[in-house]
């Protein structure tokens, strides 16, 4: 079997709060393979956010080893993490996190800017990604001119434009109504069906039910 895209080996993340050490993640091991659609499920305070930060290479574990697409994250400096994020991960956030006063096209093209892709190629690829998500007629709209569902689709386009090994979605339906949320989930499903690896982080069991595998977190530990 090929190496897993995500491989967490006895990972802990401990926060120092004054003299207290608070473990947000405690001895977690997890493997996610190419083509999987994994939901990480847990109530608030279960360590979901910490998990998301670690998986997304925004934070480093205090103990244990994390390998993302074959790269040992612990050995990387901040620039190395940035490069790994840029090449390997596409983020979809709860609050969309689009750049304000920036068109959908430029928003989607931003990850390519930091990969050093030329301006003309950025435009072509960003436009293609937006068209794939049915936003071909919205490419010059700014986030404030788009509905929540449209904004989240722009964010998904931005996550896809670099053709990353992993899509990391943090409560992607949290700010959307049920109907629009279902559309976004259907979209993630479609992407997974096309072979994309997706890790979904949520507190909502209904949303998690859409995934092919569920990982339950409680008090910083994997319980199921």
């Amino acid at each position: 079997m090929a190496e897993a895209i995500i491989s967490l080996d006895r990972v802990s993340r401990v926060y120092e709060m004054g003299h207290m050490a608070v473990p947000a993640l405690d001895d977690v091991s997890l493997e996610v393979h190419a083509g999987e659609f994994v939901a990480i499920l847990g109530p608030s305070g279960s360590g979901k956010t910490t998990m998301m930060n670690i998986l997304g290479c925004l934070d480093r574990p205090t103990a244990g080893a994390y390998r993302l697409a074959g790269t040992a994250v612990a050995e990387l400096d901040d620039d190395g993490l940035a490069r790994l994020r840029s090449r390997t991960i596409g983020f979809v956030f709860q609050s969309y996190n689009l750049l304000p006063r920036t068109t959908a096209l430029d928003n989607v093209a931003t990850p390519l800017l930091y990969q050093g892709v030329s301006r003309s190629e950025r435009a072509v690829r960003a436009k293609a990604a937006l068209e794939r998500l049915g936003l071909g007629d919205r490419i010059h709209h700014e986030p404030t001119e788009l509905s929540g569902g449209q904004q989240q689709r722009v964010a998904v386009a931005r996550a896809l434009v670099t053709d990353p090994a992993l899509i990391l979605a943090d409560e992607p339906t949290g700010n959307l109504d049920t109907h629009t949320g279902a559309e976004v989930m259907a979209l993630l499903h479609e992407l997974n069906a096309a072979g994309r690896t997706i890790v979904l982080i949520t507190h909502d069991a209904d949303v998690a039910a859409a995934a092919t595998r569920q990982v339950h977190l409680r008090d910083g530990r994997v319980v199921a």
Partner: protein, 395 residues
């Protein structure tokens, strides 16, 4: 990221907040404009003063009696003759003058009538415009001939075609033989408002005695100015029977020294003006830093997003630094244009004209670049160091 990409990013950012960008730049605009304008005013003053002093004759030594002219004067025509025999003296022009009414036909004017010798134009740096100056022959024979200064000629209504006409000087008829080129420059004494006659003539008809108001001496070699000056001093002390302890009853005035002193004063003045103006440039720079810090705070979330999608700290640093530099450079360029316009206007009003000084402009550009870097680096570093996790959660 290439500089071009950074510039595009910065410009599109500035476009979205035009008023803020304009107000931020205003500080730099005012700073750079005042540096450019004040330095140019300083240089204009310098060249204007230098030109005016040079217009008085560069190799000029002026000997004047202490205690003013008139009765107390101890300088005589014989003194002038003795000076003329010294080495390295180019020309000696003793002057006796009196304010008289001069008339041509029905036109009257009151002007200074100067009695002098043919060396006068060389010593005082005049050019003859029409006709001739006093000749040796006319001075020897005390002929009643007159050379008009440009202003005096205009006041009398005389032009080139009027050479040879009779004018009345102090009631006596004189023949006009020449008109001088205008020197320009106005001060407490207009150098073009005078009528020049042979020194013998003024002694004979208007001023008794052979005491002179001043003796102008031109030195043939500018390097010999000091030597000539001390030679004249000792000659005159000797002729006036002064003991070594006596104070001199005359003064030898060296034009070159005045020129040097004036130049050094105006150079200091220029430096002072530039220094004061650059304080406002620093204030403008602090304005940029202030706005950039606010901007980093406001755009914390944007920075978090950019980092999440792959921006390195150095990318963020470059983005904010280029933004600050764009503000300061754009402000600097506008400031240069404004400064040049203001200095052209002042030059026009003050009458020394406008000289474009590329060095001032280059320094202003460098200065505004430096302002951008110095006051932009700190906010940019703050932006680059933001932790992406907390930046993404920042509301």
């Amino acid at each position: 990221m290439s500089l071009f990409e950074l510039l595009r990013l910065a410009l599109s950012r500035l476009r979205t907040s035009r008023l803020r960008a304009a107000l931020t730049m205003l500080g730099v605009i005012i700073g750079v404009a005042s540096v450019v304008a004040l330095v140019s005013v300083g240089q204009g003053t310098t060249s204007s003063i230098t030109n005016r002093l040079a217009g008085l004759g560069t190799n000029l030594l002026t000997i004047s009696p202490i205690g003013g002219g008139g009765a107390s004067s101890k300088l005589t025509l014989d003194d002038a003759g003795a000076i003329a025999r010294l080495a390295s003296i180019g020309g000696v022009a003793p002057e006796i003058s009196k304010s008289l009414t001069v008339s041509a036909g029905n036109t009257n004017t009151t002007t200074t009538v100067v009695g002098t010798t043919p060396a006068y134009p060389t010593v005082r740096a005049y050019e003859v415009w029409q006709g001739t100056f006093l000749t040796d022959a006319s001075v020897e024979r005390d002929l009643r001939v007159a050379v008009l200064g440009a202003t005096a000629a205009t006041n009398l209504g005389l032009t080139a075609s009027d050479l040879g006409t009779q004018i009345s000087v102090g009631g006596l008829p004189f023949r006009v033989i020449g008109i001088l080129q205008a020197k320009g420059g106005s001060g407490f004494q207009n150098p073009d408002d005078q009528v020049i006659v042979p020194i013998g003539a003024i002694q004979k008809y208007f001023v008794a005695g052979d005491t002179v108001r001043t003796i102008g001496v031109s030195v043939s070699d500018p390097a010999q100015m000091t030597a000539a000056s001390s030679a004249i001093t000792s000659l005159l002390r000797d002729r006036h029977d002064l003991a070594p302890t006596d104070t001199a009853d005359f003064n030898v005035f060296n034009q070159t020294q005045l020129l040097a002193a004036a130049s050094s004063i105006t150079a200091t003045l220029t430096l002072l003006l530039g220094g004061i103006a650059s304080i406002s440039l620093i204030v403008g720079g602090i304005g940029i830093m202030n706005i950039m810090l606010v901007s980093v705070r406001e755009r914390t979330r944007e920075i978090g997003i950019r980092k999440a999608v792959g921006a390195r700290g150095s990318d963020i640093l470059a983005q904010f630094l280029v933004e600050a530099l764009t503000l300061s450079l754009l402000g600097g360029l506008i400031g240069i244009v404004v400064g040049l316009a203001v200095s052209a206007l002042i030059g026009q009003l003050a009458g020394w004209g406008f000289t474009f000084n590329p060095a001032t402009v280059a320094i202003a550009v460098l200065f505004s670049l430096a302002v951008g870097v110095v006051f932009g680096v700190w906010p940019a570093r703050q932006a680059a160091r933001l932790d992406p996790i907390s930046a993404l959660r920042y509301e």
